[in-house]
Symmetry: D3
Subunit: 220 residues, 6 copies
C-alpha cells in the first residue's frame, strides 16, 4: 500500500516537476532516470554519482525508421523523456525523419518550440505558413537548412528520386507535435462534424471520406 | 532624404525591438505610440510625460463586431500593436468575438500564448485537441470559462438559440492566430496540391472545392 | 511512519516544484490534482489518462461572493492551486469581485503578475500609481477594461448606484495579492509602531486607531 | 526639424527597447551610452570599440548620500540607466543607503526584482510582509544579510547608536521602487480621499494630516 | 525497503525539481529544507508554517574563510542549496572571498549567472575577457564594484599590502563555478594529453608539470 | 550631420535591441536586415513585405571551411547576425566544423547556450567538464550525437583516419564562443603574467612559451 502511494505520489510529483518549464537549468545537468521502476513517467534525474559519459552520447539515429506506411515516413525522436535523458533541462530535442520516395510529413505544428531542419540525404520540399497566411517554402538539397518559427504550421515532402532523410533540432525538450489533419479529423473523441464541415467548406460525405482515410478502422 | 532614412531605420528598429520577447518588463510600462507618423509598425513607446490615464482605459469592446460573413463571427482585438497600446510589454492581450446564430471560430492556434475564454452572452461549444489527439471540449453557458493551452488547436461554435459573445485573454501581447483551414488551403502562395491531398486523404477535386469555398475569387 | 514521511516529503517536494516558476510549460498541460489525499498543498498533476474536458471548464463564477463586510466586497478566485487546476503551468489566473454599493478593493499589489480588469456590471473607479508617484485612474463603465502593470499598487471602488462586478485576468498562476493597509498595520506579528508612525506621519494614537479599525479584536 | 524627429524617435525607440525585459543577454554586454546628447533616456549601447574597462568599474558608492531629511536616509543607486551603464542587460542593480541615527526606509516594494541586503555599518532592523500577512523581520548587525522576495513590501530602520549603511543587490536592472505611504497619500494627482480613508480606517482629518506630513507644501 | 525507495525517489525528484530553472517564483518564497533527514540533496521547501524570520537572515559571512592554501584564498558561499535556503527560487546567491596577501582566484566562469563584486577590504585587481578576446580589468579599492557578465571567464587577485576581502552577488541560485586551469588539467578523468598540449602549445613535460602543480598527489 | 547622428543612433539602438534577450519572439519572425547600409551592426528586421522564402533557406554549409591552420579546423557559423538572418529572435544558431586529420577544437565555452553536436563525417572524440571537475567524454562515430550543457567547457578532436565534420545546434541566436587557452594567454591586453603563472602552476618562461605559441607575432 505504501508502495502504491509512493508510486502515485512519485508520478504526480514528477509530472508536476516536468511541467515547470523551459527556463534556464539550475544545475549543470539533470539526466533523466528512465529506468526507474516506480512507473515514473516524468523526468526524474539520476543522482550525479550515477551520471556517465554515455548518458550524453546519443546513438538513436543509427537505425532508420520504418517508412512502410501510407505517408511514407518514419520519425525517431531524440527526446529527454524518451531516449536521450541527458537533454532534460537543456532546452533542446532532436528528431530524425526517414522518407520513402514521396514520403510526406503532413502539415503540423510544434506548440512549444522553434525548429531548424537539414536534409541529410535526398531532396525535400518544405515550408511553413505564417499568421498572415503567407507561405515560405523551398526545396532543400542535401546540406541545406530551413527554419520553422515557433508554433507555425509546416510540412515536409520528399521530392527526390529516392529516399530522403532530415534531421531536426528544436529548442525545447518536449516541443510537442500536432498533426493538423489527424488532430482535426481524427481526434478522440471526434470534433463535431459541423465544425469541420464548415471550417473546410466540405460536405458531410467528404468529411466522412476524410475520416475513413485518416482514422484506421473508421466506418462512416 | 534624411527623413526617409529615419523612417526606414525607425521601422527596422522597431520591428527589431518588438521581436525581443515576452520577458518581464524593464519599466513600469511602455505605452505604444500608435500615432507616430513615421510609419512605425512596431511598438514605440510614448515618453512618460505623455502617458495619461486614458492610455490604460480600453473601450474597444463597446461595439460589436460585424458577423455578416460565412462563418458568422467577428473579432475585435485588444492588442498593444492595434488599439490597446498600454499592453505593450505587459504580456497580455484581449479579444472579443461576436457570434451570429451558429457562428463558428474555425480550428486555429495561437502560436505564442495560452488563453482563457469566457462566454459573455449565449451558449458556446468549444474545445481543443492535445498533442496526443485527445479532444477536450465542453458547452459553456454565460459566465463559464474554458482554457486553451499554448499552441494547441482549438475552436468555438455558437450553439445557442441566438447571438453569442465571448471574451478571451491571452498571456502574450501578440499571441498570433493561425486559422488552420485557410492557412493550409488558402495560403499565399498555395501549398502544393499533393501535400494537402495526401495529408487529408482527399482527391484533387475535393481539394479544389475546398479552395473555392475558402479562397475568395478562386477558380479551379 | 513511512506514510507520514511520505506525506511530508510529498508536501515538501510539491512546494519545491510549485516554486519553479512561470516559465513555458513543458507539456501540453498539467492539471493539478487537488483531490490528492496525501495532504499535498502544491500542484501535483493528474495523470493524463485522468484528465477530462471538465477539468478545463471553470464554473466558479456562477455564484456571487458575499459582500457583507466592512469593505463591501467579495472575491472569488480562479486559481490553479484553489479551484481551476487546469491553469497549472498555464501562466494565467482569474478573479471575480463582487462589490456592494460603495464596495472598495483597497490599495494592493500583485507581486508577480500584470492584470487586465473589466467591469461586468455597474461602474467602477480604479487606478494604479507608478513608481514615479503618478496616478493613472479612470471610471469604467460596463464593458470597459483597465490594466494594472506588474507589481504596481492599485485599487478599485464601486462608484455606481448599485452593485458592481469586475473580472480580472492575471498573467501568472499565483500572482499573489498584498493589501497594503492590512499588510502594514495588521501583519503578524505587527511591524514596529515607529516604522509605521514615521512612514505615514501619524501619531501613536492614530496608529492604534488604524489597528483597531483593521485588525479584528485588536485592543490598543 | 529632422533633428527633432530623430530625437523623438530615438527616445521612443529606446524606451521600446528598454522595456523588452530581463531575459538573458544576447551579447556579452551592452554598456549603456548615457552621454548620448540626443536626450536619450533609455539604454543605448556604446559600440564595442568604445567599451573600456572603466565602464565596468563602479565607484558610485565612494560618497555617502545626504541623510539630512525627515526620514534620515539617503539612497545612491547603481543602476544601468543612471550611473552604472555596464549593468544594462545584466539583470542586476545596486543601491547603497546611508542612515542617520534612526534613519528609516519606509515600507516599499520593488515591483520587478528580489533583493539581498547587507549591513555595511551599524545595526539595522528590517523585514518584509508576505501575502499571507506574516512579518519576517530581524535586526542585522554588520555583515549580516537579509532577503526581500520579489514584490513584497519591506522596510529598514537604523536601530543602532550611530549612523548605518546598507548595500542592496537586486536581480533586475530596473527593479523599480514604490514607497507605499507616499504612493498612496502623495500620488499625483491624489487618490480619492474616500479610498484611502476607508482602506486605512481613518477620518478625513487624519487623512489630511498624513498628506500634510508627507506632501511638501500641501495645505488641507 | 519502502524507506529506501522513498529516499531514492525523493532524491531523484528533488534533483528534477531543482533543475527546473531560474524562472519567476510561483510563490512568495520557498525556503529550502536542508535538515530533511531523507538525505535530500536538492531543494525541498519547508512548509509555510515552519518558515521563520531567521530563515531569511544569513550570518554565514561572520567568519572568514581559511586562506592557508597555495592560492591564498578561501570562499564562503551563500547558496540556497548550502547555507541560505531562503534564496531558493529567488534567483540570487552570494559569495564571500578572503584573500591572503597575494591571494588569487584563478580564471573561472559562472556558467549560469552574471556577477557584481565589491571589495570589502583591501585592494583587488580583477577582470574578465569577452568573447572577442578583449580584457576588461581594473584595480578596485575598498567600496568599488566590478561586473562579470554571464559566463565570461574572469579572475581576482589581491594586490594590496595585506589581506583582502570581496563580496559577490550573482543572479542565479546556483550559478556554478568552473575554474579553468583545474577543470582542464585536473578533471576526473583527465582530458587526453594531446588536447591540452595542442590547445596551450605546450610540451608533454610541461603538461605533466602543470598536472603535478594542480592535482594533489599526481605523479607524472 | 543629421545622417551621422542617425547612423550613430541606429547603431546604438540596434545594439540595445539586440541585447534584449532570448525570450519568446513577439512576432512570427523578424528576419535580420544585414544589407542595411546604415552601418547597423545589430539585428534590424526586414519589413514583412520584404521577407521571402529564401530568407529561411540556409546554404552556408555548402562549402567547407579552410582547415589549413595549426589547429586543423575551420568553423562556418549559421548565426542570425552573420549569415542566417531568419534566426533572429528564434533562439537557435548553427555551426559547422571541418577538421583536418587530427584537427582540434580546443577547450572552449558557450556562455549563453547549450549545444547538441553530431558527427557528419569521420570520428570525433569530444567531451565536457562539469563544475565538479568530472569529465564526460566519448568518441563519436558518424551519426552519433553529444551534448554540451550551457556554459561548461568542452572540446572536440578528430581521431579518425581522415577528415571529419561536425554539425552543432545551439539554443541561443548568439551563444558566444570563448576559447580558453587564447582567451587566457592571448587576451587584449594580456592578463597579468602572475595570474596565469600561478593559476596554471607554470614558470614565467613557460608562460612566455605559451604566448609565443598562441599569439601570432608575439615576442617574449
Amino acid at each position: 500500500m505504501a508502495k502504491l502511494m509512493l508510486a502515485f505520489v512519485a508520478t504526480a510529483l514528477l509530472v508536476a516537476c516536468v511541467s515547470a518549464g523551459e527556463a534556464s537549468p539550475i544545475n549543470d545537468f539533470c539526466v533523466a532516470d528512465l529506468k526507474n521502476t516506480l512507473m515514473i513517467n516524468g523526468l526524474a534525474c539520476k543522482s550525479s554519482a550515477m551520471v556517465m559519459s554515455e548518458d550524453f552520447l546519443f546513438k538513436g539515429f543509427e537505425v532508420d525508421a520504418d517508412t512502410n506506411n501510407p505517408l511514407g515516413i518514419g520519425i525517431i525522436p531524440g527526446f529527454a523523456a524518451v531516449n536521450y535523458p541527458a537533454l532534460n533541462t537543456q532546452g533542446l530535442s532532436l528528431a530524425k525523419i526517414n522518407y520513402a520516395k514521396g514520403g510526406l510529413v503532413p502539415p503540423h505544428t510544434h506548440p512549444r518550440a522553434a525548429e531548424v531542419i537539414t536534409v541529410i540525404k535526398g531532396e525535400v520540399y518544405m515550408g511553413f505558413v505564417d499568421t498572415a497566411g503567407k507561405l515560405f517554402a523551398a526545396t532543400l538539397k542535401t546540406g541545406d537548412f530551413f527554419n520553422f518559427p515557433k508554433g507555425l504550421v509546416h510540412f515536409q515532402l520528399n521530392v527526390g528520386s529516392g529516399h530522403a532523410e532530415t534531421l531536426s533540432v528544436l529548442n525545447a525538450q518536449n516541443p510537442g507535435i500536432q498533426l493538423m489533419a489527424t488532430s482535426l479529423f481524427g481526434s478522440s473523441p471526434f470534433i463535431r462534424d459541423d465544425v469541420l464541415e464548415r471550417a473546410f467548406g466540405i460536405s458531410h460525405d467528404t468529411q466522412e471520406q476524410i475520416r475513413m482515410a485518416l482514422v484506421p478502422g473508421y466506418k462512416a
